[in-house]
Symmetry: C2
Subunit: 349 residues, 2 copies
């Protein structure tokens, strides 16, 4: 194996590690003088041409692919979820000397990741917005078989050996619901996202566990379905407004739905003093800024992006580690942030 490390070459040449990578991998534009200095340092330190060649063989484009879902007019980059993850990815990619190739899914959600690799448009790939659907699992298996380096972010597939960086949404949801139970709430409506996301099934598992531990059963008429959008929260609020006598609190699977629900209930004439307790999820900026503050589960989105980028780029630098090794399955911890929306007094019966 290679004992001399990139950072030593960088220090001797007086450049950043990113610059060393760019020179040695022949990606990206670079000043000729800098290039010569890096090559001389690599040569003097015996940073082996072998390792360089192996690396070069894997790093052709200098691009880290990022597959994004796409919704027309959704201002995707402005969503807390994506902007934070991308900031984390971008930070790490830049440090490693990679550019980001952002690829949008087709309107049916599909994307030909294999083609991106085959056409050498990307060297590695981070996949956002994956879900349990006919084609998706097959696509991922295929690029896995071909040993193209990729990592799923915030989604996992049971029974597969994909690289996955996720947050512990089972635990986060469990904490959220247990918090409501501790406040004395008993009829907790659960507004979840689409079931095809592991995000949603994890949240449901956490909800069920908290109820179970409290000796309670899941009541099907307390389960509601949204799609993570604020609009879907508004829609669910119409249903909720019709059964306010049956519920005393709400756990919504993300903040946008929670805020939509609050708005919808107000529109339906529910007075502030009768507003059910509510906990959202994601701890977006809006959770803090809305009034009353929205209790929510903080997810380290930036760190998810940063870690996934670091892991997948390490596979490129040290391909020997990728061969035959077990995949990395990371679950970062989350944290319940309690604000006024879930701590008010119980409404009178």
């Amino acid at each position: 194996m290679n004992i001399v490390r990139r950072i030593e070459v960088a220090e001797m040449a007086g450049v950043s590690e990113a610059t060393v990578s760019r020179v040695l991998n022949g990606v990206g534009p670079i000043k000729e003088e800098t290039r010569q200095r890096v090559l001389a340092a690599a040569d003097r330190l015996g940073y082996t041409p072998n390792a360089m060649a192996r690396s070069l063989a894997r790093r052709r484009s200098g691009n880290l692919g990022v597959v994004m879902p796409y919704l027309p007019k959704a201002r995707l980059f402005s969503a807390h979820y994506f902007s934070e993850i991308l900031s984390g990815i971008g930070s790490r990619a830049r440090e490693e000397g990679y550019d980001l190739l952002i690829v949008f899914r087709d309107s049916d959600g599909a994307t030909d990741v294999e083609g991106l690799f085959r056409m050498q448009k990307i060297d590695a790939c981070l996949i956002l917005g994956a879900k349990e659907e006919a084609g998706e699992r097959e696509t991922l298996r295929r690029i896995q078989e071909k040993r193209y380096p990729f990592c799923l972010i915030n989604q996992h597939f049971a029974g597969e050996s994909f690289n996955e960086v996720d947050a512990d949404h089972k635990e986060g949801s469990y904490q959220a619901v247990r918090h409501l139970l501790e406040q004395g709430f008993r009829r907790i409506a659960f507004v979840n996202g689409p079931e095809a996301y592991s995000n949603s099934s994890d949240r449901r598992a956490g909800y069920e566990r908290a109820l179970r531990e409290a000796g309670m059963l899941v009541e099907p008429d307390l389960l509601f379905a949204g799609n993570f959008s604020r609009t879907s929260g508004l829609r669910v609020a119409e249903e909720l407004a019709g059964c306010m006598d049956r519920i005393d609190s709400i756990f919504a699977a993300n903040d946008r739905m929670a805020i939509g629900i609050q708005q919808g209930l107000r529109l339906a004439g529910v007075l502030p003093e009768h507003m059910p307790a509510i906990v959202g999820y994601d701890d977006s900026d809006a959770a803090e800024m809305t009034s009353p503050g929205l209790s929510s589960v903080r997810v380290p989105f930036y760190e998810l992006g940063e870690m996934a980028a670091a892991q997948v780029l390490r596979l490129l630098e040290e391909p020997e580690k990728a061969e035959g090794n077990s995949p990395f399955k990371v679950k970062l911890p989350v944290e319940l942030v309690v604000r006024a929306s879930s701590t008010k007094k119980l409404p009178k019966d």
Copy 2:
């Protein structure tokens, strides 16, 4: 010229225009069956191979480059400014069948755009975060000379024939300051960003024009310098707190600085009833959510991104229009949004 248009090919083949582009330009992965259908439709309609070849010669990577500034730990994608512009760019790029190649500037702000074109990593380029600096103008002139298609977003260079999509910040700043004057304020502190940005010089021009029209002089001791960050607003607030007897209102060149100033003045012990009137700029989400609401100038960032992408991609589709034509210089209108921060009563002398 070519009479049959892409949309007709798309309709006959039963696919999107984006798919037609991808097939005819040989970029991006595509199902073989779809490819055949598009080629057959193009053939039947006489969508000329000539035009295709010309287009192909110019569109090699299928990537639209986006040059971004970079600040470590700044969570760039989470900033209202960048996330909105990128959402606009992404929306249009996807419709046209392009992926986005996000390229970060070096720590000294430089980026070798020419190299990106030369290495065919991008077909066209949108440039964010440009400013009046030694190397930048030269770099842009060079890619201009080589006829590589690019467009600056939210920055303009006097005396150059670069393509530029900007917003009318002179007018926006003029409106903001006139609004303060109309409220009876006379000692208006102006907290601007770095002078190397045309953004800053435009704001200053608007500030000066409003004062001039009111028969007032610019007082140098009312001018303060930040760098568009909230932290710089906090810093300026320390200076402002020391001269509250000299000022009755503040115009800050963006919302983040305005919010930093408000926080800083509170930290310095300024009571709510003595808080000077303040107007920010950008109309970010925070302006609406902060309390009291922050008056601000709304900038159509999404539309800036969308329009710049549309213009620069049109140069690729219709290169004959690019030759010898005058550059496009767009200034989109902005709008003052008045909230509570600037409408309270004048403080007593």
